[in-house]
């Protein structure tokens, strides 16, 4: 799948920006602060979710006007192309329209999917578990559209339970009512995540790639994750007194973490060099794209922000070769054109000036 037209109006730093591209990769370069990432953030909104910065609609408005913003694009997938539009009026939540009709995030997911790699993820292997969990959940969401709702349901019930714990409420019936719902959603969240990890493993295993295989394993911050709804329910009930002492829920999928290993070397990802850590991430993103393409019958759009950072010329060339072999429309950013030299004529190049104006070369 690919975008052939992108128009931004009052979105982030762009007052008005228009791009007409084809299905080849798009290399965007320009100085810091020119608005390169804003462009690919706009593309990320075509995939269900809150986009690559997880920002609210109000945060996406161009300042100081903050009058609201609009993004429009033409998405080509398996069937006929679709006109997709996002609008937000003066800080209100964004509204999605597909071919002139209001559409849900689920409907949007049937039209466009994107996977991305941003510099904030460079610290994925060495930061806290929350970042890795979020990464895993985004990969999982790309395979399981119900994952977002399950996560919301689980979080809501857990917040309620945590409030009871914090206020030292002793009503067992109330706890049980919430734990039933946490167990129902939590067990499915866990199953979805395991399924996603299995798909990534299979996609890495069968691929001819220059990037190192990352072996991923789901671990718990303590103990083991109870398998299935009944076991999770029992674990929550058993943990109640300990949770009361802690003032929060200590068992469940919100305590899961992902442990990564550089498979060829048998070295934990956290102990690899910065370049190797980046290479492992790229490997996973490419595996995600390959696994998704076999699932939805189209290659998702790739968004690679400052992807060349930490990669030597050899790895950069290998990445570009793989993107082209995959046939993905990859939107990539960098500070200078030399970072995309290895792509040659295989990509479309866009220069962003300091004032945000775009020039297609």
């Amino acid at each position: 799948m690919y975008l052939s037209r992108l128009t931004l109006s009052h979105f982030r730093s762009h007052k008005l920006a228009r791009l007409e591209v084809d299905s080849r990769p798009v290399a965007i370069y320009g100085p810091n602060g020119a608005g390169k990432t804003n462009l690919i953030e706009a593309v990320s909104l075509f995939s269900p979710g809150r986009g690559l910065r997880r920002a609210s609609a109000a945060e996406m408005a161009r300042r100081p006007e903050a009058v609201g913003w609009k993004i429009a694009g033409l998405v080509h997938g398996a069937g006929e192309p679709h006109e997709v539009e996002f609008t937000s009026e003066a800080g209100a939540a964004r509204v999605v329209q597909v071919d002139g009709k209001s559409a849900s995030q689920v409907q949007l997911g049937q039209i466009a999917r994107a996977v991305w790699l941003v510099p904030a993820m460079d610290r994925l292997w060495i930061e806290g578990a929350e970042g890795r969990r979020r990464f895993l959940d985004r990969v999982t969401l790309s395979f399981a559209p119900d994952h977002a709702q399950l996560s919301l349901d689980y979080e809501k019930a857990m917040r309620e339970r945590n409030r009871l714990l914090k206020e030292q409420v002793r009503d067992a019936h109330w706890y049980k009512a919430l734990e039933l719902q946490m167990a129902r959603a939590g067990a499915r969240i866990d199953a979805n995540r395991r399924d996603a990890l299995e798909r990534l493993r299979a996609a890495q295993e069968g691929a001819e790639t220059a990037f190192p295989v990352a072996e991923l394993e789901m671990v718990q911050s303590e103990g083991a994750m109870p398998e299935g709804e009944a076991d999770l329910l029992a674990a929550l009930q058993e943990s109640r007194f300990r949770d009361l002492a802690a003032g929060r829920t200590l068992v469940g999928p919100h305590r899961s973490d992902v442990y990564g290993v550089f498979a060829a070397k048998g070295v934990p990802a956290a102990e690899c060099s910065t370049g190797e850590q980046k290479a492992l991430l790229i490997s996973l993103i490419l595996a995600n794209a390959r696994a998704l393409s076999s699932e939805i019958g189209a290659i998702p759009i790739l968004l690679l922000d400052e992807v060349a950072a930490h990669l030597d010329a050899g790895r950069r060339a290998a990445l570009y070769d793989e993107i082209c072999a995959l046939g993905a429309q990859a939107w990539m950013t960098g500070t200078g054109p030399e970072l995309f030299a290895e792509l040659g004529g295989r990509a479309q190049v866009v220069e962003v000036d300091q004032d945000g104006s775009l020039r297609q070369l």
């Binding site: 009503d171 109330w174 049980k176 009512a177 039933l180 719902q181």
Partner: protein, 197 residues
């Protein structure tokens, strides 16, 4: 501007009603003034009567004009069935369907620790009393399919377990609904609750 403070005040009050904004409130007030005899005066009288007499039913929480509402007074509805709903609007929705012939119990909300609403803030203790006092044989939990609604349903079910038959409303394809327009969760629920033809 409408021209006078009294009319402006009426417009302002009307615009606070659910579903009305300043623009629709102005249109409604203008319409009422034009239909003064036919609509405005009867409406004003009716509102005055309701303002003087409307109250919550002491038994079920429904809104009526006497201490015990007509539904609770109706002996024909004492058939052992009790339908638990979140608020009065849900009770009225059930009544519009004209299918359920038992009695109701309005909780007045749902459990929410985050909003500080506990069992004692709802009419759950009264529900337990009614089950014994009115010889209820089946409690139908007609609560919303939200986390708070289902937490409340599980809470009540846990409290009443073993004392009465507990049922809940089915979830699935609405009458006249097309599968194409349903979300994944509803289709899953409908499939899980499939029945032989």
């Amino acid at each position: 501007m409408s021209g006078t403070d009294e009319i402006e005040r009426l417009i302002e009050l009307m615009s606070r009603l659910p579903g009305l904004g300043p623009r629709s409130a102005r249109r409604a007030v203008l319409h009422l003034i034009r239909k003064r005899a036919l609509l405005l005066k009867p409406l004003a009288q009716s509102m005055q009567v309701v303002a003087d007499t409307a109250r919550e039913c002491l038994n079920c929480g429904n809104v009526g004009t006497s201490d015990i509402c007509a539904l609770c007074e109706d002996e024909g509805r004492a058939n052992g069935l009790l339908c638990v709903v979140e608020d009065v609007a849900d009770l009225w929705a059930m009544e519009r369907a004209n299918v359920f012939k038992g009695r109701y119990h309005v909780l007045g909300g749902t459990l929410s620790a985050l909003d500080g609403i506990g069992p004692d803030d709802l009419r759950i203790p009264q529900l337990k009393q009614r089950i014994t006092a009115e010889a209820v044989s089946e409690v139908v939990l007609a609560l919303n399919a939200t986390i708070d609604g289902q937490t409340t349903a599980h809470y009540i079910a846990d409290q009443l377990e073993g004392t009465v038959t507990l049922t809940s409303l089915a979830q699935g394809v609405p009458i006249g609904g097309e599968l194409d327009y349903l979300d994944d969760g509803t289709i899953t629920a409908a499939l899980n609750a499939r029945k032989p033809l």
